[in-house]
Each structure stands twice: as C-alpha cells, then as structure tokens.
Symmetry: D3
Subunit: 134 residues, 6 copies
C-alpha cells in the first residue's frame, strides 16, 4: 500500500464518475456540493475513487450489479434512476437493463421489479429508447 | 406467445438450474420438494424456467446481479451462499464476486458488505479458493 | 402434476386477477404490457395463475396478508394501494383493512403503519368510505 | 375515551397473549422480564392489551397477517417462529399457514418465502404436523 | 408497577410530544385523529407517553437516534422530516443532525444518506438555516 | 480542501477506531485483513478516517446513532454487537444503550427491538453488567 496524495484520489474519482455517468453524474455531485460539500467529496472519493476505480470487474458489470441492488432495496428511486442512466452510458444494452430489473422479481418480489421498471421507463423515454424493446 | 406444455417449462427450468448451479442446485430443490413439493416446482418453473431461461443477459451477469441483490438485502444468507457458488459455477472469477460484494458497501452499507464477505469466505473455502486473492 | 397448456395458466391467472381486483387489476396489467409485455404476462401467470389460484386459503385472507406485507415493507406504495382496493373488492370490511394496517405498527414500526394509513385514506376516499369508521 | 386503570390494560393484554399463543407466549414474556422488565410489560400492554384486544378483526386473520409481515421482512426469524406457532394455536390450518408463506414469494421474493418455509418446517415438526401436507 | 389512570398516560404523552416537536407534532396527531382516532391516541400513549417519557436518555440523544434509524430504513421520508424538525426543536445543532445523516452512509449506504440529506435540506430551508453550514 | 497523504488518513482512522472500540475493533479489522485486505483498509479509512474523525458530533452520540440504525435495520447482528460494545467503550451508560434499543420498537417494530435486546444481553454479560439494570 503506497501512500498517495488524497488529491489524486479525488481526481481519480472524478474521472471515474465521468466514465460511469458522463456529465450527468458530475452535475449531481456539483449540485450536492452547494449544500453538503464534504459529503459530495466523499461520494467522489470512496465510491468512485476507491471502488469503481478498481480493476477486476468491468464497468458494465458494476452498473448491472448496482441496478440490481437498488431495485431490490426499493427505497432509493432517485439513485436507481441515475444508475439506469449510467448502465446505458457504460454500454449495457437496454435489454440487459430490463432483464436485470425483471430478475429482481425473483429475489425481492414483484413490487420491487415493477417499481424498478417504472424508473426504467422514465429513463428510456428521456434517452429516446422505445418500449417495448424489439 | 405460443401456448406450450407446462411440462416443457419445468424441464426447461430444471435444465437451466443445472446450468446455473450444477448438481448442488438440483439437490436443494429436491430437498425442498420433500416438504413443499409445489413450492419446489414453482422455483424450477418461474425463476429458472421463465427468468433465467431468457435470452438477452448472460448467466455470468445474472449471477453477479443476484449476488449484488442478496448481499444488499442482507436477510437471506443461505440464498446468497447458493448464488456465490453459482456465480463461480457459471464462470465468474473469484475476483469478480469479491468486487461485487465490496461494491455493496456503497449501496447498502459496510455491514451488508462485511456479512456478504463472510459468506464468500465460506464458499471459497469449500471450493478451495485461497484468500486473499492474488 | 399433470402437464397443461400454459395458455390455460394465463387464462386462469387473468380470471383470478379479475376476481381479486376487478377491472382495475386488468387495466394495470394491460398498461404494463404496452411497455413490458413479458413481465405483464408473468404477473398474470405466476402470482395469479399459480399462487392466488390455489385452494386452501380464501381470497379475503390472501388480501389481508398482502396488505400486511406491503405495509410492513414500506417501499411499494403503489402496490399497497392496489391491494387495499383489492381487499375491499374481495369482501374485506373497511374495519378489517384498517386493523391490519394498524397492527403493522407492532411488527414494522409506527412509520410503516402511518404511511399505510395514508394509502388507506386515499383508497377509501375514492371508494366513498367515510373516515373515521363508525 | 373512558379513563381506565392501566393495570386493567396489562391484565387484558396478558389474557389476550394467552389466547393468541397459549403458555408459550407467556413464557417468552416472563423470560424477557428477567432482563428487561419494562420492555416485557410494554409487549403485554401495547401489542396485546391495545392491538390484539381490539374487535373488528379475528385472531386467525391477525396471525396470518403477522406471519405474512414477518416472513416478508425476513429479519426476525425468532418472532416468525412464535407467530407460526400462534397461528396454529388460534385455529389457522397448517395449509393456511403454508399458503401465506408461499404467497410472500410474490411480494418479498423467493428467498423470503424459502426462509419462511424453513421456519414453518421447524414449528410443524415440533407440533407433529407431517410434511408434505396432504 | 403501580396502577395509574391511562388518562394520565395520554396527558403525559401529549406533554412529551409537545416537548419533542412543539406545536407541529400535536398538529400532526390532531390531523391523524380526524381519520384514525384510535391510532392517533396510540401514538401519543406508547411512543410519547411510554418511551419518550422515560428517564435515562436525553431528548437530544433520542432524536439523533430516531433520525439515524429513519434515515437508515429509508422508507419513511415524512417521519424523517418530522424528526429532523424535532431534533432541532430539542436543541440538537444543525451540524449534529447533518453528521448523523452522513454517518448513515456507512451503515445503510450512500443512497440512504443522500435521501436523508435531501430531507435535511428541506427542513433547514423552512427553518431558515443556510447551507452549507459554516 | 488541502491534499494530504492517504497514509495519514489510514493512521487517523486506525487511531479513531481504537478510540471507538479499543483493541476489539482493531482485532476485527486485522482478522478481516487476512482474507480481504483492501476492504479492511477501506473500513479504517472511510468510516473511521473520514466519518468518525469529523468534529461536530460526539463519539457517544455517534455510537448511539449507530446502535439505533443497526437495531432498526435488523439484518446485521454481528455489527450491532460490535457497536453495543463500542457504545459502552466511549462512555455511554448501559441505561442509554438499552433506552435506544427499546425506542426502536417505535420506529422499526417490536421484533427489531427484541432482537436488539438479545444482542445487548450478550454484550452486557461479557462485560459483567448485570440485568435488569437498577
């Protein structure tokens, strides 16, 4: 474990956040920073500078895992919306996203999947992805 | 939607369950069937005959999503154990499994990730996978 | 386990859904089918064609159990609304519905019960059921 | 709202607890009282003296609702065990209990139902109820 | 355990509720009582007349604990709003409230903390507390 | 935001962890590090080096908030055990710990509080704290 400047960690996190979600992700963090600057910094540093910056798992798989978890938990629709968007941004196909959300009916029940699909529908509409998928 | 024999659906589910988890998965279902035969049949038919049998998402991605969801929910350790095993069985690397579980610290908190890692450690020990990973 | 046509299963589920929630339930499924036709079919087939179609438990008891579970989980208000409506539709009295929701204060805390009562109030208002109950 | 002696409320709760779960319920409360006497008193007074003592919903329905909620939440197996026992004690049939637990697969996912069935199997074994049910 | 008039218990709870949340808390209960009078009474009696009326833990600590729990559960935003307000009312500093909510990122994940901070921002805006805190 | 060496952050976290939980906390992290060294490092760095190291909220209040959250979530008994121990270590009285756990009956239901009290009883027994408290 080589010591490194935490400034590097923030920079690495900001770059990774841009990889994951494009300008939308950075905008969310900048909005948050106006009210809670320390927490905005932590979000860049730990989830993105530490976790998403790790090797060993692709960004596509990371986003599908996050969509699965947030859909299953069912109590964080705004973050699910961000990560459905991010999943598309890192190259997941619309079909893959829908499959993961439908699969959550098995593990967290049909209401969790239904409410996840409602979020998917909103994000797909903004992204111009027609439903039903072919 | 072409009508088809439900017997086919059960057969398809049993085959898919074997793909996902090998003999271990079928053994779980057979054990359950001794006490709750209808529910054992539903597990084969809906999760495996309907959901896992779908195209559009690879089995590796399906298992990583399931590991993520069960780790995040945190109230189903026996099923998390089954799916950590299944993730390895369908070709996820040990590193990928550990990465998904660690990532859950971001979305469901450190306790959820810690308890998920405890399950990973047990399954890896049975599978002869040494920790820490190289 | 006699093989049967899955088409029969869908038909059985659609009939059972109509028993449970009347035209409102079918309308929800038809709306969903415009975006996610496969998932709409699964909802008819598994929850209604398999589970609710079973003997051994009355529809009144099934709906009270569902209201209890959704109120306790607290993360699926749209589905709680559907099932408060359905509970009345299958013959639960308004008093029974309110009693189940209040009881959830014991098992899931007062906020879960309070948010459940807010849903009850909306559904009762649409149904013309005055509060407080006599 | 007529003022009444809180002693009456405790007595009413203890009587209701005995109705609901027989000597087993009272033994749980007495065991708890050795370490946490105030909390043991609250359990008698609020859940049983206030809620279960209410009219408008039968004890059978109350217990099925509680089994549903605890199975769906999935994080309170000891209390689920108590209420599976209580459900049988107030006259729910073994079939009704199993039906409610299986139904939770729809609302809280298959793992919640599976872990609920594991509790059911234990309680039924102690009660001499053979599985599978006829 | 000396018997006492339950009327006293209600009065004690109403006084404690006023201590905790000022006129806002009483207004919530009075609004609820129009639709669900028994449940409104229970809220005064058990949470406030029994629990919050106990000695051994200060009101500041009680409110910080409640904000922590509601933020972590994540499925009761209206009640979290009430208790962020109450925390300020009993003398918690704005910094203390924000610290507790940020800390929930560790135990319940970043989405729970983010959604908690969104509630904090609303309550602080109504209370004229500028963000970011100095 | 002044850049600083992350090594400092780890050192600060390790010191804070020792403040919070004494040798027991460091032992948990060292045990974890044998299997998952990166995750052990993150636990020191983010929860303790970032969050618990912040000013503005006392360690006593931090631990009471954590006990509240883990008791309410109900799916992380090992971590609840650690933090009941830590609460005592930072100077919370046994009464304060019991009060917080009992209060969770209001926000997360009686089963959550009961299972929390079972953890409290174990930790108090190890610490030689007799129950019931005087």
């Amino acid at each position: 474990m080589t010591p490194h400047l935490s400034h590097d960690r923030y920079q690495r996190g900001a770059a990774r956040l841009a990889d994951v979600d494009g300008p939308a992700g950075l905008a969310v963090v900048e909005g948050l920073a106006k009210s809670f600057p320390d927490f905005a910094r932590y979000i860049v540093e730990f989830p993105f500078g530490d976790i998403y910056a790790r090797e060993g798992l692709g960004l596509r798989e990371r986003e599908l895992a996050t969509v699965a978890a947030l859909c299953a938990l069912g109590n964080a629709p705004p973050q699910l919306r961000v990560h459905v968007h991010a999943a598309l941004h890192v190259g997941c196909t619309p079909v893959e996203v829908v499959e993961v959300v439908m699969q959550m009916a098995v593990y967290a029940g049909f209401p969790a999947a239904l409410n996840g699909l409602a979020v998917v529908r909103e994000v797909f509409a903004e992204a111009g992805i027609p439903l039903p998928l072919a």
